[in-house]
Symmetry: C2
Subunit: 398 residues, 2 copies
C-alpha cells in the first residue's frame, strides 16, 4: 500500500490550514461587506450539466459512472453550477442574485507544470442585471479584497466588443500577445489564414483602439465607488480564453506571479443554456492558491503562530488536577488552551512540543506554585518567566 496522497492533491497540515483559513475569512468578510451571500453546490453533478461548457478543457473533467448507474462529474468550476442553480430555483430566487462561493474544484491537470488537481476557488457573481454598475462593483470587489490582504495589484480590463469583427481563432492568437510576443502572434495569425499585412494591421488597429463607451462608464463608476482607478489599466488586446464572455473582461496581475490571480467578465448568454431565457451575469473567480503563493512570498500572511495561546504543562500525576483546573479557567476566559495529557512526561518534552508547534506561552504549575495558588508563565519567544496569580495570567494572555 502506497501511504501517500495522490499526485496533484494536497494535505494541509495545521500551519498551512490556519493560514488558508485566515485568508478565506478575510475574503468572505469583503464579499459580505458588499452584500454578497454564500452558496454551496455539491461536489458531484450529473455529467451532462458540465459537458459542452468548457471547450477543449472538457477533457480535464473527472467523470465516472456510479454503482447506481449515474453518469457524474466532479465540480470543475463554480460558474456552471451557479447557472444550474439559477435555472433550478428560478421561481423562488430573487434577482439580482449576488452570491459568493468558496469551494474546491477538480481538474485532471498536468502536474508536471506544477499545477494542482484539487484547488480552491473564490467566486463572486451578480446575476440578473445588465447594468454597468454591476460590472464596476465586481471590479471594485476584487480591488477591495486585495487591499484588505495588503497586496498591490493591477487589473487589466478590456471589452469583448473590441473583437466583434474578428474570427475566434484570431482572437485566441491575439490573447497570447503578452505571453509569446508580437512576432509569434503574427505568425500564428498567418497560420490561421490571414496574410501578414492584414495581421499586422489588425494588431496595430486593435492596440490603438480607444476605450469603448462601456469601459469609460465602468471607470467612471469605479471612481464614484472610491476605487483607485490608476490600478485599472485598459488593455485593448486582452482577450481571455473562455468563449462565453460577452462584455467586459478582466485579469488581475501582481508582481511575482506570471499569470492572472483573479479574472472574470460579463457573460450574458451562458445561463440561457440552462434556463431557456437570457439572464445577464458578471463575475469573477479568484485563484486561491496563486493568491496564497504571492501573499506568502511577500510576507503578507500572519506569523505562523499556533491558534493555541498557551500550553498548560503537567508537572506530576498529583499536580495534574491543578493543571486541569487552571485550563478550565483559562478556557472560560476565552483563551485557547491546550492541556498536556501525559503526566509522566518530562517538562522538557512538553516545552519542546510547544516550541515545535509555535505555541507562544507555556504555563508551569509545580508544587511551589500549587501551594501559593500561582503559576509560572513562560514566554516561549523571549524565554522570560513570570510567577503570576490566575488573574495575572489571564490578563497577560488576553
Amino acid at each position: 500500500m502506497k501511504v501517500q496522497n495522490l499526485k496533484g492533491f494536497r494535505d494541509f497540515l495545521p500551519k498551512e490550514a490556519r493560514k488558508r483559513q485566515y485568508v478565506i475569512d478575510k475574503i468572505r468578510g469583503v464579499f459580505e461587506s458588499y452584500g454578497f451571500e454564500p452558496l454551496e453546490t455539491p461536489a458531484l453533478e450529473y455529467k451532462e450539466i458540465l459537458t459542452g461548457k468548457y471547450g477543449e478543457e472538457e477533457k480535464l473533467i473527472y467523470d465516472f459512472k456510479t454503482r447506481g448507474g449515474d453518469e457524474v462529474a466532479l465540480r470543475y468550476d463554480q460558474t456552471v453550477p451557479l447557472a444550474r442553480v439559477i435555472a433550478q430555483y428560478q421561481n423562488t430566487l430573487p434577482l439580482p442574485f449576488k452570491r459568493y462561493q468558496i469551494q474546491n474544484v477538480w481538474r485532471g491537470e498536468n502536474t508536471q507544470k506544477g499545477r494542482y488537481r484539487e484547488f480552491l476557488q473564490c467566486d463572486a457573481d451578480t446575476v440578473g442585471s445588465s447594468s454597468l454598475v454591476a460590472d464596476a462593483e465586481i471590479i471594485r470587489l476584487v480591488l477591495s479584497i486585495y487591499e484588505t490582504l495588503g497586496l498591490e495589484v493591477k487589473i487589466k480590463i478590456n471589452d469583448r466588443k473590441n473583437f466583434e469583427t474578428l474570427d475566434k481563432n484570431i482572437v485566441s492568437a491575439i490573447d497570447k500577445l503578452e505571453k509569446i510576443g508580437e512576432s509569434s502572434v503574427l505568425s500564428e495569425m498567418v497560420e490561421k489564414g490571414m496574410n501578414e499585412k492584414d495581421a499586422k494591421k489588425v494588431l496595430s488597429v486593435l492596440s490603438n483602439k480607444p476605450q469603448t463607451k462601456d469601459i469609460k462608464m465602468i471607470l467612471q463608476n469605479l471612481e464614484e465607488m472610491g476605487a483607485d482607478t490608476s490600478k485599472v489599466i485598459y488593455e485593448p488586446t486582452l482577450a481571455r480564453g473562455l468563449d462565453y464572455y460577452t462584455g467586459i473582461i478582466f485579469e488581475t496581475v501582481t508582481e511575482g506571479s506570471t499569470s492572472s490571480i483573479c479574472s472574470g467578465g460579463r457573460y450574458d448568454n451562458l445561463i440561457r443554456n440552462f434556463t431557456g431565457r437570457q439572464i445577464p451575469a458578471v463575475g469573477f473567480g479568484l485563484g486561491f492558491d496563486r493568491t496564497m503563493e504571492v501573499l506568502e512570498e511577500k510576507n503578507l500572511l500572519p506569523a505562523s503562530e499556533s491558534g493555541t495561546k498557551v500550553l498548560v504543562s503537567v508537572f506530576s500525576e498529583e499536580l495534574g488536577k491543578e493543571s486541569i483546573r487552571i485550563s478550565n479557567i483559562l478556557r472560560e476566559k476565552g483563551i485557547n488552551t491546550e492541556l498536556w495529557i501525559d503526566s509522566q512526561d518530562k517538562l522538557d518534552k512538553q516545552l519542546k512540543y510547544a516550541s515545535l508547534k509555535n505555541i507562544p506561552y507555556v504555563l508551569i504549575i509545580g508544587p511551589e506554585e500549587a501551594k501559593n495558588n500561582t503559576a509560572t508563565l513562560k514566554n516561549m519567544e523571549s524565554g522570560e518567566q513570570k510567577n503570576l496569580s490566575l488573574e495575572g495570567i489571564a490578563s497577560e494572555l488576553i
Copy 2:
C-alpha cells in the same frame, strides 16, 4: 438535460449556507479553545488507502479509475485519511497530534431512507497518547460543543473491554438492543449459535456489569474538567458498529433524534495499518446534518436574517452617485451594505427584494435627502422610517 442536482446531494442557498456557517464557526471555536488544530485532506485518495477499513459498508465508497489510470476513491470518513496523514508525516509531526477536520464525506447511501450521499463531518482526535485524560478531554469537548450550541444532550459511554470474552457476531447483535429490543436480540444471539439460556445469561451479566476502572477514571477526570457528569451515562450494552474500537466508546443522544448525533471512542490499533507501529488514538465524528436538524427543530439557530445589514436603494439615475457614495461610507464603517444596481427600478421593487431576502434596513436617498445631505432609513420589520444624517445612520446600524 436534467437541470437538477443529484439525488442525495444538496445545494445550500444563502439562508441555509449562512446557518451552516454559523454552526461551523461555533464548533471550530470550541475545537480551538481546547488547542485542537485544523487539518485538511484531499477529496480523493488512492483507493487502496480506503479499502479493507470499513467492513461491509465498504460497498458505499465512491470509487473510480481516472483517465490517467489511477484507482481512486472519494473521502468516506475522516479517520482513515487521518491515519494516512500520521503515517506519511510521522517524522515531522509532533505527537500528541490534536487535530480537527471539518470536511464533506461521500457515501452511496440508500436515499429512500432520507440519507444524504454528501454530508459534512466535524471530527476531533488526539493521536499519540494512551492516557485516559485524552479520552476524558474528547468527551468534554463534545459536551462543550453542545453547551455552546445550547443543545441538551446525554452521552452514553461504555468500555469495549466489557465485551472482551464475546464473539464479534454476538457483540453486533447486542449492539441492536435499544433499536430492536431484548427478545429480538436474544433470537439473533440464538441464530448466531448460542443456546437460549446462555444468551439470556450473557445479556443479564452484561447489563449488570459494573463500571470498569477506565470508565471510573474518565468520569473522575470529567468532573475535574468541570463537566456536568450527570449527562454522561454508563451503558454496559452499548457496543458501536465499527470494529476498530479498543477502549472507551460513546454516543451522543438528544431528544428529537432517534440516532446518535456524535460518536466516537478509542482506537489504538487502526493507525498501525499505515505506520507499522502502534500509535494510540481517541476521537469522535460529529454528524453535522443531524445536529443541524435538531438545532433547527428546537429553534436554536439565529433568525434567518440576511448577512447584509442594509440595502442602499437607488432613487433615480441622477441620484445613483449619491447612493454609491453613501454605500462606500457605510462599508468603510464596517457595515455590510448592498447597493441596488439598476437605477431605473422602482423603489417598490427594491423594498420587496429587501423583504424577500430579510435585509433588516433599506436606505432611501431621494432629491430632498440628497439636498440636505441626509437619508431615510426604513426598518423593514417595524416599517418605521427615520430621516437621519450619515453619522446617525451609521450609529443606528452598527
